[in-house]
Amino acid sequence: MNLRSIVWKELRERPTAMLTGLLAIFLGVAALVAIRHVTVFSEQEVAQQLSTLGANILILPKNATLQDYYSADLSEATLPESHASTILMASLPGVEKLSPKYCVPIDFAGKQTILTGILPQEEFEAKSAWQSVSMFSKTKHVGCAKAESCGPTDNSPESLASRRSIEKLDAHELVLGADVATKSNLKSGSSTVLFGEQFRIVAVLPSTGTVDDGRIFGHLHTIQRLAKTGEVVSAIEVLGCCEDAAGQLVPQLSALLPDAKVVTISQVVQTQVGVNRLMAKSSIFVLGVLVLVGGTSVASSTSSNVRERRREIGTLMALGATPGLVARLFLTKAAWLGLVGGVAGVGVGVLIAVVLGPQWAGVSISPLPYLSIGAVAAALVVALAAAFWPALRAARLDPCTCFQDA
């Protein structure tokens, strides 16, 4: 027999009495943990996109919708391919590379797949030499520290995944996204048939967690010919050498191409930033609800528990229990409630975030230990604080109640 076993045995006798308090804490913690997890990972995702794609600019058809940088080129509207040459000839400082793309949805190996035509960099070099235009990096963006390190370092086709451009791709060569490769069972070196023509797969991209995993990349001009669209593109990606350059390039490009929409990655992620802000706010609201509803129901169930057990408390005091021990009896019970509700809430909250996070916010989520421990601690503190006054009242009960009739 000890304090803990007394608390446990009383709790086991009538578990339903404390159920509302437990439920309130559980639900509050679950909601809080789920929302916080999604928010944290979504914010990380935005930050990551800003840092890796911060220097990039998208040139899109005017009416293209913007939800996600990676799928920005999936709208049906198109731009003339000649825009790429226009940008090239303007030789704007800070432009590192151009990557025009054309996308067409196809059925590949029984799956909906995006066939993306991309223009390899070496063709720009040929073009610029032929048109005697200086190649991009000759006119550096002034004051750009990163500009020094700009330029090709990794020319393998796999670098397309992160560098978003490809150095070299022949007319009948393909690069597969990670998901397409696994689903169709194709490897680098194997060949396949598209629109009745034979293609060789030169590379499989590493998984990126974006829509790019479901793409097949081919040569822009081959795809245009197969889709019979003429010289059009869905988007032109301008790879600036740094974020500052991107900021200065936007007005220049807008002036250069009045019929196109020119956006930076920070504009693309703006909606998500807004959503994240809303989620951050609502998590404060949920915390408030947890404190208020969870706290009140723990306080009220502890209060009525103290009332019901007056004679038992008096008897314990007659047997020599100190007021401090009586208070601890109720505080321990509340602590269990907070702990159990908190741990269960964290478990379910994390599960909800992991399962639903990809659908809600398009981010994959893994459990955050500090957040989880923090949430359990918060539940514990709320439960203890709520039970404090009722426990104090129990401690101050008149021991003479032991002589009263039930």
């Binding site: 027999m1 007394i6 004679r311 007659a318 047997l319 401090g324 021991p399 032991c402 002589f403 009739d405």
Partner: protein, 230 residues
């Protein structure tokens, strides 16, 4: 054992004052067996509470073994109850969600005994009151007489010098009453002081002397010298 010096206890409720206890000096010596008798509302339970260190009197002193009870801290008085006093209640006051064994363990836990000690001593005490076969029964699974015997075992857990009983036989059938009273006799013969509130003439007969309370005032008399008007 106990010395009361001009103790008064006045309850004040909504402006009305009830003098529940008013007694000049009297003593309950070591090894005494006193029956507290008197009509309902005469202050018997109040007296017991004052003796048990659970109710501060408005004036006067209560000495326990020469030390003033109410000049000590609440925690110290709790400790005195734990080590020195045992209580028996009319309604038994067993903890409903604990088994017989666990109920007897509670005062042992409060006194800081190890789990093993608690179990051994509690089982031994329950065997002593004839409930060796009922260790794992909850109070609701015991007869009223058995419940009072569990309560007696619990009272004896910390080997108290004094037993304060408030109508211990009030809720019992004649057979159980006899068992409980025999026990109290036995405990008194072991040298323990007993103060027992009772309405039961037969129970009062067993005491060495009576304390008769009328409107909070105590008059002490030897056995047989006073009529019980309860």
């Amino acid at each position: 054992m106990f010395q009361l010096q001009d103790v008064t206890k006045i309850y004040s409720r909504r402006g009305r004052h009830v003098a529940a206890l008013q007694c000049s000096t009297f003593e309950i010596p070591d090894g005494d067996y006193a029956a507290v008798v008197g009509p309902s509302g005469s202050g018997k339970t109040t007296l017991l509470s004052v003796l048990g260190g659970m109710l501060s009197p408005n004036s006067g002193k209560v000495l326990v073994d020469g030390a003033s009870l109410y000049d000590q801290s609440i925690a110290r008085r709790a400790e005195l109850r734990r080590s020195l006093m045992g209580f028996v209640f009319q309604t038994f006051n067993l903890v409903p969600y604990l088994t017989a064994l666990e109920n007897v363990q509670v005062p042992l836990y409060l006194a800081g005994h190890s789990k093993k000690d608690q179990c051994e001593r509690a089982a031994e005490l329950l065997r002593r009151v004839g409930l060796g076969e009922r260790l794992d029964h909850k109070p609701s699974e015991l007869s009223t007489g058995q419940q009072q015997r569990v309560a007696l075992a619990r009272t004896l857990a910390n080997d108290p010098k004094v037993i304060l009983a408030d109508e211990p036989t009030g809720n019992l059938d004649p057979d159980s009453r006899k068992v409980v009273l025999d026990f109290l006799d036995e405990l008194n013969s072991e040298g323990r002081t007993i103060v027992m509130v009772t309405h039961d003439a037969a129970a009062a007969e067993r005491a060495k002397r009576w304390l008769r309370l009328v409107d909070g005032s105590v008059t002490a008399a030897a056995v047989g010298k006073l009529q019980i008007a309860a």
